[in-house]
């Protein structure tokens, strides 16, 4: 008990230095945790996009919906496959869609923005039960009504309820806002597929998404379809498809972030070493006194290590607290892999809090190692500064 009091009070005694050092440590932890939060937020968004029971079909070789092209005839036959769920109204749980990146000129600054547009049909809600309309209603098939995801409504004032989007020389009225559990669909605009196809001069669909009877059948389903020479399709489990779409971006965030964090954590560690070194140098007489009283070298080592660990701990808590403020902040950016605009946020997990604090403690420990060892190795007589006479 006396040890922690001793260490804490010593940190406080030189509080300016202590504060500066732990701020440096805290900043590093802040960035570290923020990077983790961002990458995780991205993966979470992508991972939640899509249902494990769904299979998404693209034309063979297409890497994304934008490149893919499925004809009407093809999709007709594909929808009739066994294993696809049949709904209450005898409809097959299959939705044919086209996906496009729309270029919109934003009203406020005239700058360009990408909008992910999906031409779909009402059966989409049966295929994707996790997408729900929270305000307004679904679009009327055959009209130029659209619904927008919650992120779109947030980012574009011109896409709010009852507003009108203008593209393709037509007017599209926003009649509803939907939420998709924080997934990529939240950054999309959905409307009638036929209207979209006409407007974009498309004659083929981008993709078809099927809801399967259960998640286990997918591998067999996939094998069967991909081998059939009649169809030229590639089949993926819906979540896996979307996750793959953000791989590049997630990797970029992690690599850049962690590379940088490691680099400047060295700076913070050196700062801690400096602080602890000075502390030791300042307290040599004290060390000699303690050794005289009967405290061992091990005790001295422990005391200084404890101090640097506490320093790290305090810095870590500060950094994590700062990062926690970022929680739920969303940013919207273009995903280079697909060209699609995607909104995702910082997402904090308890694991990250632990990792951040551990990282800080680790930094403090490394930083304090050499000074603590030097303190422990002092010769008593020298430490007391006695004359050798």
């Amino acid at each position: 008990m006396l040890w922690s009091v001793y260490s804490l009070r010593n940190l406080w005694a030189r509080r300016v230095t202590t504060l500066l050092t732990l701020s440096g440590l805290g900043l590093v932890v802040f960035v570290f945790v923020a990077i983790l939060m961002l990458a995780h937020g991205l993966e979470r968004t992508m991972g939640r996009t899509g249902d494990p029971a769904n299979a998404i079909l693209l034309s063979k070789g297409a890497l994304s919906e934008i490149e893919s092209s499925l004809s009407r005839d093809q999709t007709g036959v594909l929808a009739a496959q066994p294993d696809v769920v049949t709904l209450e109204d005898h409809q097959v749980a299959a939705v044919r869609e086209i996906a496009l990146q729309l270029t919109l000129r934003k009203q406020d600054r005239g700058s360009l923005a990408s909008l992910s547009v999906r031409g779909s049909s009402p059966v989409a809600f049966a295929v994707r039960p996790r997408v729900r309309i929270v305000r307004g209603r679904a679009w009327q098939p055959g009209t130029t009504e659209v619904i927008v995801g919650s992120q779109v409504a947030r980012q574009f004032p011109e896409a709010r309820l009852a507003e009108t989007l203008r593209f393709g020389r037509r007017e599209w009225t926003v009649v509803g806002i939907f939420e998709a559990e924080g997934s990529g669909f939240d950054s999309e605009v959905w409307g009638d597929v036929d209207q979209m196809m006409t407007t974009f001069h498309r004659t083929a669909f981008s993709s078809m998404t099927l809801r399967l009877a259960d998640t286990e059948v997918l591998p067999a389903f996939k094998a069967r379809l991909e081998r059939d020479p009649r169809f030229k399709v590639s089949v993926k489990r819906e979540p896996e498809y979307y996750e793959g779409k953000a791989e590049g971006l997630a990797r970029l965030i992690r690599v850049t972030g962690l590379f940088l964090t490691v680099v400047f954590s060295v700076g913070a560690i050196l700062g801690a070493t400096m602080t602890m070194s000075a502390s030791v140098a300042h307290r040599t007489t004290e060390i000699g006194t303690l050794r005289t009283l009967g405290f061992t070298r091990g005790h001295i080592l422990q005391a200084f290590m404890l101090e640097s660990i506490l320093l790290g701990l305090a810095g870590g808590l500060l950094g994590v607290a700062g990062a926690a403020l970022l929680n739920r902040v969303t940013i919207s950016t273009v995903n280079w892999d697909t060209g699609a605009e995607l909104a995702f946020g910082f997402h904090l997990t308890p694991g990250m809090v632990g990792e951040g604090v551990l990282f800080a403690v680790f930094m403090g420990l490394i930083g304090g190692l050499v000074p603590a060892a030097r303190a422990a190795r002092l010769d008593i007589v020298q430490a007391l500064g006695e004359r050798t006479a």
Binding site: E286, L293, T388
Partner: protein
């Protein structure tokens, strides 16, 4: 006769300074009986601090045997020495050497942290020690809030709190004014007289030495034999 507390035999301590060898203590042999209040006097450079340090186990002799409180010191490991010192030695420094971030009471408690006493028992001992030196009312003050004399009294309290076999004092009054110095010496004398504590004090001040029972002079590493 009672076993002597300190028994030195042919103790020599040399330092290497650059190319030369400096003998600080030369072939010293003497004993200190229990219950003595001994003052060792000598000019600076005479080796008296070194002698004290050897007795405390802080410094090792180059040759010779050192037996203190029944234990042979010169061959002990460092860890064992630290444990031994905590049990048997109370040390009073010229510069008081209180830990600045601890209160008077906490400073006095420090040696007890090395024991297995409970918190309550420790608190009891601390109170007793502080009362003995007359500073019970300044328990929660920090060293910077105390005068030099008061700091040294805390130093003495710290030296006696774990009831050590022997108290060693290195110029305890060296930094004090007349009055405070007097208080400390009176205190030490009391400890010796009333509690039978063995005290070895190093000093260059004759007036301080007078307050002790016995005086020995150390000159150039050699102890002047009593007449």
């Amino acid at each position: 006769m009672v076993d002597p507390v300190v028994s030195l035999h042919n103790v020599t301590k040399t330092y290497i300074r650059g190319d030369t060898e400096v003998s600080v203590i030369r072939d010293l042999s003497f004993v200190i009986p229990a219950g003595t209040f001994l003052a060792i006097m000598g000019p600076s450079g005479s080796g008296k601090s070194t002698l004290l340090n050897v007795m405390a186990g802080i410094d090792r002799p180059t040759s010779g045997s050192v037996v203190v409180a029944g234990t042979r010191l010169d061959h002990m490991s460092e860890g064992a020495m630290a444990r031994w010192r905590a049990r048997h030695i109370g040390y009073v420094f010229q510069t008081y050497n209180l830990i600045p971030v601890l209160t008077a009471a906490e400073n006095v408690e420090l040696p007890l942290a090395l024991t297995h006493l409970s918190r309550r028992e420790r608190a009891e001992h601390v109170k007793t020690a502080l009362r003995l030196v007359g500073l019970a009312d300044r328990m929660d003050h920090y060293p910077r809030q105390l005068s030099g004399g008061q700091e040294q009294r805390v130093g003495v309290a710290r030296a006696i709190v774990s009831d050590p076999t022997m108290i060693l004092a290195d110029e305890p009054t060296g930094n004090l004014d007349r009055e405070s110095a007097d208080d400390i010496l009176t205190l030490l004398a009391r400890l010796n007289r009333e509690l039978g504590k063995t005290i070895v004090m190093v000093t260059h001040d004759p007036r301080a030495a007078e307050r002790a029972q016995m005086i020995r002079h150390l000159e150039k590493g050699l102890l002047e034999m009593p007449p």
